[in-house]
């Protein structure tokens, strides 16, 4: 199947998934106890105020009617207005999503740069000192809660050494990259530990497998064996985990964003859930779903390329 056809088919397949997700989110957020008005007003809310404001927001209508109105506006490219922030949801997505994408991409790159070479070292030096120290170090990284690790990095590299700013997002692209380095590192540490462990096990598995011995027997150079046979096969499950982790990173970097004071999508999402800001939850879910699906698509393409049959 040519790549373009493959892509087109996958993108078409995306539509039912998105509709399914939208329906579930739409219903679920409305099933949560409370409503946006009393969530914001808290103690103060008089019953009459809550009813009046909910009526003004159209929340007194049957859920089916609300869904129909929502679907209609989605098709005209309008995701509605935030109830809490009083801004179009599309504007909010445009403000927040690029930050999160940048953060995720940087974290993914840092994780790969750390995990892949060290996994090879650890696997080739199996159960020797290098292996033990690499695994020990990654285990410490993996075992630290993000809010704790982030705070330590901020204290050491931000406040003490002053190499990096103490949180915030900065102005302009290069400044963003500078501000996002420590948070990306925070996210990358646990991801790289997972990748490293998986990759190490996979490399050992492949090294022990018959076809490597066979290649050795055929007299292929060790380096060629490593790159052509070992790496490709070892990468399959690692790529899977990588793709899935990126998916959760995109929507799940809430605590990192909070600790580093980054105005990202995760924080907006959590605030909106707590504030029962239905339009924002719906809109952000939609946007993230598209992003995650694209990530999966890339993983699938990568996997197809790594597949031994294709590689052969």
């Amino acid at each position: 199947m040519p790549l373009s056809e493959f892509l087109a088919r996958r993108l078409l397949q995306l539509i039912p998934t998105l509709i399914f997700i939208l329906i579930v989110v739409f219903v679920l957020v409305r099933l949560l106890p409370g409503d946006p008005t009393s969530a914001i007003l808290g103690d103060r809310a008089l019953d009459a105020d809550v009813e009046r404001i909910n009526r003004q927001l159209g929340l007194d209508q049957p859920i089916i009617v609300q869904f129909w109105l929502f679907v209609k506006s989605v098709f005209s490219g309008d995701l509605g207005n935030s109830i809490v922030l009083k801004l179009p949801v599309t504007t909010l997505i445009a403000q927040r999503l690029p930050t999160t994408i940048l953060l995720t991409v940087m974290a993914a790159l840092i994780a790969l740069i750390m995990a892949v070479p060290l996994a090879f070292v650890a696997a080739l030096q199996r159960e020797k000192l290098a292996d033990a120290s690499i695994r020990g170090a990654f285990q410490v990284g993996l075992s630290m809660p993000v809010f704790y690790l982030g705070l330590i990095l901020l204290t050491v590299f931000g406040a003490r050494l002053q190499w990096f700013p103490v949180g915030g997002y900065g102005d302009g692209f290069l400044d963003h990259l500078y501000h996002l380095f420590l948070p990306s590192l925070t996210l990358a540490l646990s991801l790289s530990a997972i990748l490293m462990r998986n990759l190490r096990a996979a490399i050992i598995g492949v090294l022990d497998a018959e076809y490597v011995s066979f290649a050795h027997a055929k007299g292929l150079a060790p380096r060629l064996i490593l790159t052509r046979h070992v790496l490709r096969n070892a990468l399959i499950s690692t790529v899977t985990i990588f793709g899935l982790s990126i998916g959760t990173l995109l929507s799940g970097a809430v605590i990192t964003e909070t600790v580093f004071a980054i105005p990202g999508a995760g924080r907006l999402m959590v605030d909106s859930i707590y504030g029962r800001d239905y339009p924002v939850v719906q809109g952000m879910t939609l946007a993230l779903a598209v992003l995650v699906s694209v990530t999966f698509l890339l993983t699938d393409i990568l996997q197809a390329w790594l597949d031994p049959r294709v590689a052969r």
Binding site: L32, P33, G34, D35, S38, A39, I40, L41, G42, D43, R44, A45, L46, D47, D49, R52, I53, Q56, V84, L85, K86, L87, L92, Q95, R96, F147, L151, L154, T155, G158, A159, Q162, P165, V166, G167, G168, Y169, T258, V259, F260, A261, I262, P263, R267, L268, Y274, G275, R276
Partner: protein
Amino acid sequence: MKFFKAAALSAAVLLGSTVSALAVERGGVMTYGRYADSLFLDPVLNDANVDIWILSNMYDTLLLPTDDGKGVKPGLASDYKVSDDGLTVTLTLRDGIKFSDGSAITPEDVVFSLDRAINPDNGIWNFLVSSIDSVDSPDAKTVVLHLKHPDPAIIPALTVFNTAIMPKAQFMASAGTTDKEKAEDFQTHPVGSGPFVLQSWDRGSTMKLVRNPYYWDMGEDGKPLPYLDGVTFEVIPDDATRILRLQSGEIDGAEFIPFARVSELKADPSINMQLFPSTKVNYITLNVRPTVDGKENPLANVKVRQAMNYALNKDAIIQIVTQGVGTPMTSFMSTATPLHSGDTPLFPYDPAKAKQLLAEAGYPNGFKTSILALAGNQDDAGITTAMQQMFAAVGIDLEIKQVDNATRTDLYRNGNFDMRTGGWTDDIADPSEITSYFAYSPVIEAMHSGWSNDEVNSLFEQSQSETDPAKRAQEYARIQEIYNSEGPTLPLFETPYPVALRKNVQGFVQIPLGNNIFRSAWLQK
């Protein structure tokens, strides 16, 4: 108002010491770290502290609150007069006052702004000015309020954010047909009457205010306020990060310092750790309906409530939750609230008395009950965990239910709870607001507790149109006496507003109502 965390009056009043003999210096931008961003900066339609507490920097009111939060001083109006029958208030506008775009502030703008504030369809704050029947302007300098009945709280009400003055022409020229749509558009290019005006707002991250060159008030050096060229708000939700940024000098001030860090920052030579007096009270609200969820409710018995009060070691809770910064409560309203009465801490720790009262109430072996706590809130976790231990000692088995804010609100609004944690700050320098919510049952059934007391209700109604200050004080003393002894709460402690500033920041104040006042702030070079 209450909403997230906040703070009250402590003995440590440091205000005086910051206004020193130093000559003021002009210029510079002060950067202030906040725990959360604002949501909607419209004086009338906003609904949260994150808006209220900074709005007064952008929009001035006719009268201004004094720095101690109890009094009133002239604002855009230089003078006011209440008629002898208490039914009309006449205000004289200051000469030459202008909006931030240079256009004049006219009586027409004032009438427009107040009409918006009293409109019952607008927002949730109109109850503060519900006594106003109409507003008109007989001449180019005068505005007259006609009241439905005498209102002892009308003068402080004119210092509250929702009566701030906005430019009619510019507001009406905004896009949209309804008032709400216009307000949403107007806040993207606001024109204000306060010392600063919004320049840019990067949601969730940074808000920049610049000085209003047309502001009317004069500084100590005889030139117009404010001293600062601007104020920048940085949103830094994590407490520890906010402190780190302050210590590294990237910001000049930081709000809501966790009490656990106060003594450490007091010792930091580059930091000026302030505990501004506040109207914040922290308490537990009890559901006192005879049955909850179809089951008999022990909390309906006043002796049980008193027993629970005696069973709590409030000093220990103050140590655990506020590291000793908080102070015990002497009434349900804070000591910074006008007409507060009471000078001894309520219900001193006495477990023996608690057991005796429980036995008298018919629960010699205690009972099982539960409390709603805000999930993820460290103070709530500390309070409820300590309560659980203290109650266990008298036989009360307390289950802690951590839920998110909206769920909690839903549960207590429907009367479907045993107990809940709570916090409150006043918005107006008058006891009527807190009393109407806490004690006067027709408003929200005394904090949704289901408590009702005929004497309190009629005293409150009388006090609402009582023009004799002495009589009003008596009425409030009696209300507090009743509520504090048999009301639906477990009062815990009062807390100040913990704000940390760089040593060179001068003249900044957070008043007891919570407003952050930057108009006289300046940076020492």
